[in-house]
Amino acid sequence: MDFSFNSDQLLFQDNVRSFLINEVTPERIRELWQSDSGRCDQLWAQLVELGLTALTVPEQYGGMGLGALDFVLLAQECGYAGLPEPLVETMLVAVPLLAELGEAHEGLKHDWLGRVAEGQARLAVCEPGNPLVSDAHVADLLLLSHGDEVHAVPREDVELVRNLSVDPSRQLYQVLWTPGAATCVARGEEAAKLLGRAFERGALGCAAQLLGLAKRMVDLAVDYSFERKQFGKPIGSFQAVKHLMANVAVRIEFAKGPLYRAAHAVAHGEAEQALAVSHARLAASEAALLAARNAIQTHGAMGYTWEVDLQLFMKRAWALDKVWGDHALHKARIREALFDQGRAIGAGTTF
């Protein structure tokens, strides 16, 4: 029994964190907001250079063959940085979905996965049940669901309609396309399984980013609580302000266990991964929403401005809170496991 990450995993997290803090600054994110695509080929190239686009690509296609447990800490850092580029969905959802296709699609996998690893191609993936696909405009290949089918559709075969989000970093598109036999890569039970697993990975990646965002918002608010002085003192010296932040710290601390437990469950395909993922997703959401609320409160009127960087992370948290399953869905999955399926509970039943 060892519920901790190894030194390689922690070192990788440190490296990615340093890179993102230096390269994905709030200034750079604001520049991206002004650009046409909202995305930056140069930044993606830097991610490629760090090896991040090869992480979850299986080794036979030129990748590193790592899984959800290796990626979860990096996803947290992507959240912390507010990285607009769709690294988490690409690596944790789209790549494994493509890699899990049957042998009949060996050619397709071979064509695309190696190029993704090398940074020559990009993927977008639909969230089951969400009519909008994020980052479809910069993808070369879209993985879409249609009824009980999965399709792999080149971008030139679709028409995209942009939908603006509260978070200007998000690039959301309606995808207009005509499903055909040529693009169908899985159907029926197989497709349902693939999409089900993709959903768990998507919700896990979302939870990890939300937890990173929560930490970032606390850090910003704590910094501000030193700068801003009232009654002759930094506002952070007042107990009422301290307790706003402490309450978020408690939520963050106790969302880590569920998040890493879920990453392990997904990485090992455990039978209970839905329960673990939903727990992680709810716990991370609650931490992020409370962080947003208490961070804007700590910033006072400045928190309500466009100028202060809090908005970059707060809006992202509000947006991510609703994707890859809303609270109702995740709570229903937990209730079912707990009350209807009679899962063993009590001391000694956690692992």
């Binding site: 519920f3 901790s4 606390v218 609580s225 402490a246 106790f254 716990a283 009590g346 001391a347 692992f351």
Partner: protein, 388 residues
């Protein structure tokens, strides 16, 4: 990361389970806040010790098993699962014991630890004073050096278990000119020393779970000082660290409460579901108890690998105490009209110990450093916010 138990850990669990099955009293002992219950719990400590199950994390030469923290978690899971008696000497074995091992002389360890292990010496704590609660550094009780003795005068309060305990540990001001956390000394005092008056304080349930202790020219030999004169604050912080840390609040305790809460809900679902908030609260209780368990396993895994507990451990107390409160509030909501009834009331039915637990849960956010103080600690030491 490896979330499976090793063969040795599984065998250990089986051994604990088997011993507890054979030894845990079939009928619950009376509360250890009664004289009869205190004696019964003392006897249980002796029985645990005979099986070498009293202090599994203690070294084998002291009657323990040298268990690491993962094995300790396994032991605790089995202990709570078996419904074994509460630990009447928890102030001794979980707080003072580790502190003695860290700061005690060899003579002190030999003198105190074996008797603590067998339950011959039950320990009370003496931190708070009428004027020193959250502000513990405001301690005024004095211990003045007189030859090879200290002479103690003053008053301690909220001393848990002091009514029937044998010893009290606490900090006293040995430097009369000192201020705040300077000039304090950690001293071990036999409660039968002349000059000591113990006045029981009935708790919410009417039982004397804590007491005031009055010291009137109480003479204690200098060899009862732990960690050296003037080191009291430092030693006490280490003890409080154990208290706030892992050892005292087993996740298993909250997991078992959550399990009983789920059962209570399932058995009363027709009435409970009239308020959808109840099912939600029950689900949340289970999730939070799991999160607390996972967090403890993460900390234990770090420590087993040689890491240290960081300032983030100060989030623990808030989390478990608020969880415990919410769980019992939810149980009371499910019980409805029966919630106010004592178990012996003819109409009580199967209300069990929920009311007792509900009353006890009120204390969680207060003792061992109020949750307000904990939030200050989190803000200042973990998040680095400016001090007041």
């Amino acid at each position: 990361m490896d979330l499976t138990y090793t063969c040795a850990q599984q065998e250990f669990r089986a051994e604990v389970r088997a011993w507890l099955q054979a030894n845990v009293p079939a009928e619950a002992l009376p509360s250890f806040d009664t004289e009869e219950g205190f004696a019964a719990h003392r006897a249980w400590e002796a029985r645990l010790n005979e099986g070498r199950w009293g202090m599994v994390t203690w070294p084998t030469r002291l009657g323990g098993r040298g268990c690491d923290l993962i094995e300790w978690l396994i032991f605790e899971e089995e202990y709570y699962r078996a419904g074994a008696p509460a630990r009447v000497n928890q102030n001794g074995i979980f707080l003072l014991g580790p502190t003695l091992m860290e700061y005690g002389t060899e003579e002190q360890k030999a003198r105190f630890l074996p008797r603590m292990a067998t339950g011959q010496d039950i320990w009370a704590q003496g931190w708070s004073e009428p004027g020193a609660g959250s502000d513990m550094a405001a301690i005024r009780s004095r211990a003045e050096r007189d030859g090879d003795h200290y002479v103690i005068n003053g008053q301690k309060t909220w001393s848990t278990r002091a009514v029937w305990a044998d010893w009290v540990f606490g900090i006293f001001r040995t430097d009369p000119g000192s201020q705040r956390h300077h000039g304090l000394t950690f001293i071990l005092v036999p409660l039968n020393t002349p000059g000591i008056t113990v006045r029981p304080i009935p708790q919410l349930n009417g039982l004397p779970g804590f007491a005031e202790i009055f010291f009137d020219d109480v003479r204690v030999p200098v060899e009862n000082v732990l960690g050296g004169e003037g080191m009291g604050w430092h030693v006490a912080m280490s003890t409080a660290g154990f208290e706030r840390g892992l050892m005292l609040r087993s996740p298993a305790r909250f997991q078992e409460t959550a399990r009983r809460l789920v059962q209570l809900y399932q058995a009363n679902r027709e009435t409970a579901d009239r308020d959808p908030a109840i099912g939600e609260a029950v689900m949340r209780a289970w999730l939070d108890a799991e999160a607390y368990t996972q967090s403890t396993y993460m900390t234990a895994s770090q420590l087993v690998k040689g890491g240290r507990i960081g300032p983030e451990s100060s989030t623990n107390k808030i989390f478990w105490s608020e969880l415990d409160l919410r769980m019992h509030e939810t149980a009371m909501s499910i019980l409805g009209l029966r919630g106010e009834l004592l178990p012996e009331a003819p109409a009580a039915g199967d209300v069990g110990q929920w009311l007792d637990g509900f009353l006890f849960a009120q204390a969680g956010p207060i003792y061992a450093g109020t949750n307000e103080i904990q939030r200050n600690i989190i803000a200042e030491r973990m998040l680095g916010m400016p001090r007041a």
